[in-house]
Subunit: 628 residues, 2 copies
Amino acid sequence: MKNRFVIENSFFGKYQNLVRKKMIPYQRKVLDDAVPGVEKSHAIENFRIAAGLSEGEHYGWVFQDSDLGKWIEAASYSLMLEPDPELEADMDALIEIIGKAQMEDGYLDTYFIIGRQDKRWTNLQEAHELYCTGHMLEAAVAHYEATGKTSLLDIMEKNVEHIINTFGKDKKRGFPGHPEIELALVRLYKLTGKEKYLELVKYFVDERGTEPNFFEAESKERGWTVWRSNALDQKYTQNHAPVREQKDAVGHAVRAVYLYTGMAGVAMETGDKTLIDACHTLWKSITRKRMFVTGGIGSVDNGEAFSADYDLNNDTAYSESCAAIGLIFFAKKMLEMEKKSEYADVMERALYNTVLGGMSLDGKNFFYVNPLEVNPEYAGKVMNYLHVEPVRPSWFGCACCPPNIARMLTSLNRYVFDETEDTLYNHLFIGGELDLADGASLEVKTGYPYDGNIVYTFNGDYNRNLAVRIPDWSKSFRIELNGVEIKPEIVDGYAVIKAPFAAGDEVKLILDMTPRKIYPNVLIRDDEGAVAVQRGPFVYCLEGVDNDGELRNIRIPKNAEIKVLDFEPETLEGIVPLEVDGVRLTSSESLYSYDSRPTETAVKLRMIPYYAWANRGVNQMQVWTKEI
Amino acid sequence: MKNRFVIENSFFGKYQNLVRKKMIPYQRKVLDDAVPGVEKSHAIENFRIAAGLSEGEHYGWVFQDSDLGKWIEAASYSLMLEPDPELEADMDALIEIIGKAQMEDGYLDTYFIIGRQDKRWTNLQEAHELYCTGHMLEAAVAHYEATGKTSLLDIMEKNVEHIINTFGKDKKRGFPGHPEIELALVRLYKLTGKEKYLELVKYFVDERGTEPNFFEAESKERGWTVWRSNALDQKYTQNHAPVREQKDAVGHAVRAVYLYTGMAGVAMETGDKTLIDACHTLWKSITRKRMFVTGGIGSVDNGEAFSADYDLNNDTAYSESCAAIGLIFFAKKMLEMEKKSEYADVMERALYNTVLGGMSLDGKNFFYVNPLEVNPEYAGKVMNYLHVEPVRPSWFGCACCPPNIARMLTSLNRYVFDETEDTLYNHLFIGGELDLADGASLEVKTGYPYDGNIVYTFNGDYNRNLAVRIPDWSKSFRIELNGVEIKPEIVDGYAVIKAPFAAGDEVKLILDMTPRKIYPNVLIRDDEGAVAVQRGPFVYCLEGVDNDGELRNIRIPKNAEIKVLDFEPETLEGIVPLEVDGVRLTSSESLYSYDSRPTETAVKLRMIPYYAWANRGVNQMQVWTKEI
């Protein structure tokens, strides 16, 4: 997809502005320890020390370098959205430092360059060297795409060359404890066309999970540890079986979906059928058995990990923001490979709910953990809920999620369209303008996600089909071509409107935004007897502030109608609330009562989109409500 | 209560025989490391080494001595049930070893006597010295009561004398990290009438939770640790506030109820109103907000602890067998103080459900953890369920629960009646014969817990009232005196049949055993929309083996009738199963479905008493089932 798509200043345009104007400058300062009261990052200072420009010790996590990588990547996307010479110059200066920090042989990881050079590449399980390379590599590709400059790309190609010289079949054995480099190498390969990069990913992907167990062997030899990880906990690092034999999505959820994205990338570039099958298997494991209705993944905090089929506890969920982003990466790769709407459906679900929910509306506070139900009496206080925050904290010592959200939102335009030889696919409904060949363009106008009308206008002739996604949540739809209803063929969830299009042609897609009740699979223990509500891409929730505080005793009658209220532009930066005729139960004060069912009182329930919760102070929230 | 009550060979008689004939001999061998394949206990060998009769190091937990104490206590009760000269001689021999192990100054704890004498009394928070004293003290009292011998009592009075000389207002400051000695000292006081024992308990109770924090001070001074406990986690040890200011039942559940039992004992002996109030407050905290319907307590495995109000997750519950036993101790003390049926109701609930459930029907296997819902796909495998066992293991390295169950069941006759100056109270409905004054006796005949008819026959004249408990679960009841219905006054849950009674007088209590549906308080998040079923004292459950394996998709219709099936003497050692017209739901295979509620199929559900579950292999179980 080389066509440039510019997102208009609507729903996501506002988010992009927030990221560009607030988050990126703020994060830049945090990385340089220039925000009073915020925990020291030291990420930039580590590079300065490694470069000999400053003195001191390495400070921060073993993966601290990746924070700078993610920031450069996000800033590069930001440049693509709108030129910013000052930002670009700042990045040049940072890249110069990175270059100076790099060792003669191409090695680049400040945790080891500063005082631990003898330990380089001795602890792939824990030490995140290849993970950091992956992020800086993604930054290099984005920086080149944004500026045409090869400064960071040169550094990182030299770094990858060093890795190629180090690891491989007849060299040192190894693969990353935390996948990321796989998907980054696929990007580098696609940019440069150099086969050696694809070979390196293939090596990492194929070697993983093979016998003898590499992490175990490594841990016996190295004599040091970062955080006493159990080398025998193979599932945590998806090292329990060769990737083609892995049946379930297991272990650390971010690692898992980063790995699967890399696998899908290799599968797509090589056409390797066995790898494609493995991707299908793992995709199904996630989306059929291990995904929250918000598109969040990772059921348990210990290990930030997948757990077991249908183990989807709403209030103890981990559902890390980064994992939802990784799921979007995976979905996008699958979508590049196969134009099936289920991938885009999941992408949209994760984006509009968990990713957006990961950030406060003012862009200043962030959730790592995105449970579907929170009771502040328990969150952060009671065992099993200690990882749950009832409001978004301002920044994290482990800063993975905020910059990941930043790069996701600034690069969102890359997720909207895909063009194949004969068809232009529209996956996400976002207003803006898409460049087409020969000076033509496609204008998208829409009130989405508030309404379901999307109008595509061709400026110039276009000779391929236009395939628009029919989302799984839209019960019906209508398509018009120049004002006349048409009935295009639906192929794998896309309505394919046949080419050619002439300048001025207008396609109108009208989706059904009627709220839908969602029923869970009966094997999800935690959702037994409950219902969730979705309108368009938004999963809705009850929040205490709208509903007299207490949510546990609220029920939704089986026949309850859901009323769509008017758009409220001033509420939570603009939402369409829902109103449900609900019931509030009252029981006696005793813990258990014989025979007497609680009494029911009719109440009007107000629901808001899940992503917008926790912007009005500490209170209860829940997505799933029991029916009565 | 000095009247001897002999339990007949019915429901509990069989349990007592099991404990006497199987558990006690088996445990004796385990404590002496004489059962091949069972983890070494070393409890007796530790005493031999301390006594200079054997050589070696201390082995086992810091509280290993208490295992022997609990065994001697249980064996003493066993002697009271039926003389056993061989067992008595064996106990004499063991007591001789204990006596030799005791130090000159009265100190007695093998963990410290063997090689750690310089560390005596330096780590009350962690080292369980006073806890072990408590258990051996209970053993000494029971041994004296059973045999009239003072051998162990002398040892333990000398030990307590040493403790009195060590701790107190003008001596060393201190109180136990794990309460137990408090309730034991009350027993010793009641046996001997010596005020100094009551003074010592009062000191321990009053000092607890006062400033400056004792455990913190101690941890700073001592320079060693047993298991790196956090001295600042005051709630775990109920050291967060003076006991009279404690508002919620918190921390390690066994410690909590042992403490409260000691507090109630002191309150009763002293009439201290402020302490009685504290007992009421903590009793209410447990039974109104923090107790499972099975009488289990302790919601979370981390810390084996209470958590927060209404945090009663069925499948991650800890609900330790020992904690239920401790709750019975607490209830019994409250009942001695105040004749209110709610204490006996809770006692019965914990006994018939969690305590009995803690043991397999053959007396060989034991649960520590008694959740109300188990899915073997998760239990012991998935994070947050790692503490859950889907079947009872045979024995434990930490052996607290099995001997606790043994002493509970062998001393059960002490929980059945209480006699005051003017009234004989019957708390539990167990067949047998109670000695009354002047050669009279009361015979109790009942088919309980299978049926609800209890017949009391006086053999000889009796000049006090007979107060029989009307259980909370019995919707109606009928009382007959010599075949004629009477309507006695109900006082605090007891039907008081007025004295006098003549020889041959027969009182018949007919309780209503109609199954009751139990509805949870609407603030219990995990029970939302669910119902439980109870018949008589038994909480019922669904077990997979009776219900086609899968329970998550089972629902009970709101109007469902519960049919009482015939008594099955051969099933699970004799049960009365229930049959419910239920529903099984089928949803599509997808994780979430729009608008379409799962389809319903009528099924006959078979329910069995909770205590009897997990005696037929690995399968699902649940107490609470969602209504539909």
